[in-house]
Symmetry: C2
Subunit: 430 residues, 2 copies
């Protein structure tokens, strides 16, 4: 695959929005080294009738075996889901084809094995499109930052959450209304679990950990916390603290965790001045910190047919140029997920008011060596459903979880308390 | 150079701050595919005495011929300046060595020829470090955005200007004081011409034009306007317009200029909400707009020993992995520089006040079909040295230059009027 062929045969498997964008880009004339060879999809006749612009010499099929037994050079896997995509990817590599995929679940769960299969067969497995669609973060880290030793990655990797949270922030919309709006506009799926509960970002941060640090972590070990519990009132209090709220995915491989990767996906207070706060709507941002180059920020569109297709075609061009997978991509070091972290924290209670609540909570906190930084309570709320906020000085997240477990038992709580870490302004992560 | 050697021999030519950072990175153990072979510098004995950590098998020399006649694999050129660096780079390529350089002037003026020489000899010419030091913009565009068709690039590419302008913005410091401060802190050179008058950013935007669009423009044709004429008062008026002031370098290859590249380096009003306004101190930012992927933002440290060394070592790793120069890099299309552009404008006058000044100016403007959008005048200034601002609706920059030439002739001017374009919020470039 290191020699330049006349042109590279490309089979697209899964001909939905992204697949059609890839086909358009490949056929548009700007990529003479690429040639569309196959389109594989269910109900292929209907698809064919809808896309009369596809060149007539392209083979249409609903049978993956036709693609796998052909002599095309690259399979672009866009069917989504772990099965049968993982098996098809493995078989394509074993049959001597390179594979380009936008499938974050396949790469997060089986990427290490598949990269080994690719290396055995001297083929390329490209997955730029699997993380932050339009942001060239995989190539940026692999080729552009190959000279650095990367310590930390954090980012806003899920456009649906970011759309919902920026809507809640801007117009005081409730979570359910913002979600409904996102669904109506096509930014969120009917079942939003993968997005709002963090599974989507979990897969992406696991992939980034592998690419940035060469450390393979078990994706399901990365702790998740949903954004469903965020209320409008939390944005009001966040603003009082000079912050807003974002779903932040983090991975940290700095020396203090040399045997693992500290990782999480959770709603987080981020300073209004930080790059993370300024990402509006469905855009993504990735902040990478290197030991030598300091902080790099990449931002762009994280999803959508065309941005994702650009990532796929960039991988195809890499194959056409004979760029192989990186050193890191083979023999990833297995690493455990470290769940605890130290940060200031934001706790929001909703209580039926009575004397002694703060004293009761303060007792619990001091019992765990956790120091209160401030207590915030806006006027004008009902005494029977009174929200207030306690901020904690930097402390271990496990201590916060313990204090919250105890605090939740008090019968003055109208709803379970909410907690979020705070990214401190002036920290290296801003 | 496509096979992996046991390790790649690296000769560093120019052993100053960046060279020493490169040597440290190469020798630190994280890059087993790289091996420091030579260090070439004037007064090599003194340098050697200062850097006892360099491995003893490295050859020290003050004679470039020793490097060029050796069998080392890569020459890292860090001497700066057009001569003799251009000649040394060419000879290194002709002698079968790849070259990695941080030298923006060599690449901006002679990059196209040198890339041809590299291609003839099947060698790599890497220049990630020549533009926006620590930001992996060259690899990001080449490998990460290879699938897109890029339309526009704009950025803050000169950290010295950005340091000076952010200082003026934050603390109402005069230009001369901010410059002196930058010089004291080592962010600006004794002769700041290359930075503040735009020559540095001019070379960088010419290189980006070649990499992003495949279009080679004559670097000296890119119009420059200095930041020396910016005063504290301009930041006050900019703020009233929801903006701040930055040295912005732009290149535009969208369809309207199919036979050229619209390019400039000049102080510009940028909306406070834009990515360009948020770049503090000596950091750089590059905004790239693709036809398919939309807007991508890259930011990071644009200079400094370690960030620049990361860029150099990333190029060395690319060579070790057998990544060649891109399709674009050979046979660049020659293109002319288009100087005119359409934008709203900011004009600042300092006048000896008397009746009829606005009327006189309005006459000149209307004579050129230029519409006044607003007139701003803060109270409290001396009548004999009165600053005020006129903003113009979007109009051709050449019309603005003509009106200013005429306006400057009025004897009420105490100083020549200043003009800057305004990047409009909501435009694609924000």
């Amino acid at each position: 695959m290191t020699e330049h062929h006349n042109s590279l045969g490309v089979a697209i498997v899964g001909f939905g929005t992204v697949g059609q964008s890839v086909a358009r880009l490949v056929c548009a004339g700007a990529h003479p080294s690429l040639r569309l060879s196959h389109i594989c999809n269910r109900q292929v006749d209907r698809k064919r009738a809808e896309t009369s612009w596809v060149p007539s010499d392209v083979v249409w099929t609903d049978d993956i075996e036709v693609v796998l037994s052909s002599d095309t050079d690259v399979v672009v896997e866009l069917i989504g889901g772990v099965d049968p995509a993982t098996d098809w990817t493995r078989r394509a590599l074993q049959s001597g084809k390179s594979v380009v995929t936008a499938n974050k679940q396949v790469i997060a769960h089986h990427g290490a094995q598949l990269l080994d299969v690719a290396a055995e067969h001297h083929r390329y497995l490209g997955f730029e499109a699997a993380v932050a669609g339009g942001i060239p973060i995989i190539h940026g880290v692999r080729e552009g930052l190959a000279g650095d030793s990367l310590l930390r990655v954090l980012g806003i990797l899920n456009g649906t959450c970011n759309y919902i949270l920026t809507r809640m922030e801007a117009d005081d919309v409730a979570f359910d209304d913002a979600l409904l709006e996102a669904q109506t506009l096509g930014f969120a799926e009917a079942d939003p679990t993968a997005d709002v509960d963090g599974f989507d970002a979990q897969a992406k941060i696991a992939i980034l950990s592998a690419v940035a640090f060469g450390r393979q972590i078990d994706v399901t070990d990365i702790p998740l916390r949903t954004i469903r519990t965020i209320e409008s009132i939390d944005f009001m209090y966040a603003r009082r603290l000079g912050c807003t709220i974002r779903q932040v995915a983090r991975a940290d491989a700095s020396d203090e965790v040399s045997d693992g990767v500290r990782a999480s996906v959770q709603p987080t207070l981020v300073p209004l001045s930080s790059a993370l706060a300024r990402v509006e709507g469905s855009r993504n941002v990735v902040v990478v910190e290197g030991a030598f180059g300091g902080e790099f920020v990449f931002s762009g569109f994280g999803a959508g047919g065309n941005p994702t297709a650009v990532a796929v075609v960039s991988d195809l061009e890499a194959i056409a140029r004979g760029i192989g997978n990186a050193r890191h991509d083979r023999g990833l070091v297995k690493a455990r997920v470290v769940r605890d972290f130290v940060a200031p924290h934001y706790l929001r209670f909703v209580v039926s008011d009575r004397p002694g609540i703060i004293a009761a909570l303060a007792n619990v906190f001091s019992g765990h060596g956790v120091n209160i930084d401030s207590v915030l309570q806006e006027p004008g709320w009902s005494k029977t459903e009174l929200p207030f906020v306690v901020t904690l000085e930097a402390c271990d997240s496990s201590a916060v979880e313990q204090t919250l477990q105890e605090s939740a038992a008090f019968d003055f709580n109208v709803r379970p308390p909410l907690w979020m870490p705070v990214l401190v302004s002036g920290e290296r992560h801003q």
